[in-house]
């Protein structure tokens, strides 16, 4: 199920503005990769190119390649809709569908692929996905209640359940804990640790401890100044990045001596 991601010579643009320049990196299957770096350096932008959500913004486009198990996401004839069905995404702010119940939220993606799923299959899938997102015990008695009635942390885990219900190859998470309290954060981090057994996970975070706790590899991005593109400065094992990075900028950033 899990696939590798290879980014090759990728430039990312918003119309004429180059937001990310010349990124090349290889992400192994069944691993957690963290993107860190100062605000505005293009972490979210790069993440969104990995499931072609970037091009939802008018004028946004890329140059270069993103290979998922060798297939170029940006190749001719590749349908972004198909790409997004295989590469799931969790956003910074929890965004369950407000008019849907918890159950329907979990099933939303599956129903897109396959309109008529037998009730029993659907129920099993809801339970499995919610178990997978560590949310089952908290919501099993109110699956038909609206998803918006949950706490922020529960909503975020509901969004994770929704994303993993379609069994994606890769799971992208953009600051998934930034709106959560420490306990919910811990729950999501535990979850990420479990998810990497079956998924390739890429996570953007501003929290150094979080990157250190959950990721196998860490990519540090930086920006030379406002209006300049973000670049990949250093990409290595997480322990290397945090303990003996090669670049001075990385060391300054992870030790909090930045700027």
């Amino acid at each position: 199920m899990s696939k590798s991601v290879n980014i090759k010579d990728l430039n990312v643009y918003y119309s004429d503005f180059m937001a990310v320049q010349d990124v090349t990196m290889d992400i192994a299957p069944r691993s957690v990769t963290a993107f860190i770096g100062p605000s505005g350096c293009g972490k979210s932008t790069l993440l969104r190119t990995l499931n072609r959500m970037h091009e939802v913004i008018p004028g946004a486009h890329v140059q270069g390649q993103v290979l998922v198990d060798g297939d170029d996401l940006y190749g001719a004839g590749v349908d972004p809709v198909t790409v997004r069905r295989q590469i799931g995404m969790v956003f910074q702010r929890p965004n369950p569908f407000p008019t849907m119940s918890i159950k329907e939220n979990v099933l939303a993606g599956v129903r897109l692929n396959n309109k008529r799923i037998p009730r029993a299959t659907a129920e099993a899938l809801v339970e499995k996905s919610l178990q997978g997102a560590n949310l089952w015990n908290e919501v099993k008695d109110r699956l038909d209640k609206p998803g918006q009635g949950l706490s922020g942390g529960q909503q975020q885990r509901l969004c994770i359940a929704r994303a993993i219900a379609v069994e994606p190859e890769v799971l992208l998470m953009d600051e998934p804990c930034s709106a959560l309290d420490p306990i919910s954060t811990l729950a999501v981090e535990d979850l990420i640790n479990e998810l990497k057994d079956s998924y390739t996970v890429v996570i953007v975070t501003h929290n150094m401890q979080q990157a250190a706790r959950v990721s196998d590899k860490t990519a540090f991005f930086n920006i030379a100044g406002t209006g300049k593109p973000g670049r990949l400065i250093e990409y290595s094992d997480t322990t290397t990045i945090f303990n003996n990075p090669v670049q001075q900028a990385t060391e300054d950033y992870v030790s909090g001596r930045f700027g």
Partner: protein, 361 residues
């Protein structure tokens, strides 16, 4: 920081009412009050003027048993068919206008390129500015001959459906033609309100749907429609409000009679509408007859008021029609705070306002 502490006391001093504030408050309050006075005045006028005709015995009052009001047992048997005709013509018009209007609104908000969207929006607004007499002329000179073959066809082949039965029109002056023209007239209001509401769908939810692998249409079904449902319903009701009161176009096109008829393609036996009946008969009516016409105006006033109030009620209810929408509604406020903070020069706030997803697919 030091600056803000200096601002503090000055701002609290400003809370004392100043003359300019007081004058403005007086002006705006009296404007608001005058609206209510006018509305109440109109209602009072309609009631007082129409009461004699409503209470009169139509068979024994010579003035009412002849002329435009002749042949009716009472005010209610006179106004009943008219009220029916008014609602009937409007409902047919809405049935035709709604799908088209919602389609255009959706195209503008979610499908067309941005430049085309602006242009289309402008065209639709222009349509709203066309005087109804012009629509009436267009209906007579263009739509009647244009729709005639279709009506003949409908009558001939689908005549077994009661709606299309009867003796088909020879000039095109049927209620169907009138309704088509009415539909074009109510199109702009439904389109522009729907478009505004479609555009307000939270980006967050649209992106959630897209990231799950929705096509554009699936995304719209999953997020835009649930969000916009109540708004579109009230847009339709506002359109209905406009159609109900429309006079000239209907008066010029249809060939009416005061009766209840569901037939769409006949002429000379189309249900007359209240507004166009008043317009046609007021000049030739006298005394009590005029009072009767004013009475029908009162009925139209009540119908329109009810429809408009219902529309406002639905529109003011939370988008999506459920309490659940309380949360997303805080979003504009958060944005406003971010913008205010950005203007105050807080760099972090500028950054968050940039990060809030902008633009649309």
């Amino acid at each position: 920081m030091s600056e803000s502490s200096r601002v503090g006391p000055r701002m609290s001093a400003a809370t004392k009412a100043r003359p300019a504030d007081r004058i403005f408050r007086l002006l705006s309050t009296s404007a608001a009050v005058s609206i209510m006075v006018i509305l109440a005045g109109v209602a009072l006028f309609l009631i007082v003027r129409s009461l004699p005709a409503i209470l009169a015995n139509w068979q024994t009052t010579p003035e009412l048993s002849t002329g435009p009001t002749g042949g009716f047992a009472s005010f209610f048997s006179y106004v009943g068919p008219l009220a029916f005709g008014t609602v009937w013509a409007s409902v047919i018009a809405l049935l035709m206008a709604t799908p088209v209007a919602v389609g255009i609104a959706l195209f503008i908000s979610h499908y067309s390129p941005r430049k085309l969207a602006g242009f289309l929006g402008y065209i639709v607004d222009l349509l709203a500015a066309v005087p109804s007499v012009v629509f009436g002329l267009w209906g007579i000179l263009v739509m009647r001959p244009f729709l005639l073959p279709m009506q003949v066809w409908l009558n001939e082949y689908l005549g077994w459906i009661p709606l299309f039965s009867g003796k088909v029109t020879s000039t095109g002056s049927s209620i169907l033609t009138g309704a088509v023209v009415l539909a074009v007239m109510v199109l702009p209001i439904i389109t522009s309100i729907s478009r505004e509401i479609f555009l307000q769908t939270p980006k967050l939810h649209e992106e959630a749907a897209l990231a799950l692998g929705s096509t554009r249409w699936e995304m719209i079904r999953l997020t835009v429609f649930p969000y916009a449902r109540s708004g579109v319903v009230s847009a339709i009701l506002l359109g209905l409000g406009r159609a109900l009161g429309e006079t000239m176009a209907v008066a010029m096109i249809i060939s009416p009679a005061i009766l209840v008829s569901f037939k769409l393609t006949t002429e000379g036996e189309n249900s007359q509408t209240i507004a166009s009946n008043i317009a046609l008969n007021f000049p030739i009516a006298s005394g009590l007859q005029r009072d009767a016409l004013i009475g029908t105006g009162l009925v139209l006033f009540v119908i329109s008021l009810a429809v408009n109030m219902l529309a406002r009620l639905i529109l003011n209810a939370k988008p999506g029609g459920r309490k659940l929408w309380v949360r997303p509604r805080t979003e504009p406020r958060a944005k406003a705070i971010a913008i205010a903070a950005a203007e105050a020069g807080a760099e972090t706030a500028i950054d968050t306002s940039q990060r809030s997803p902008a633009g649309r697919s």
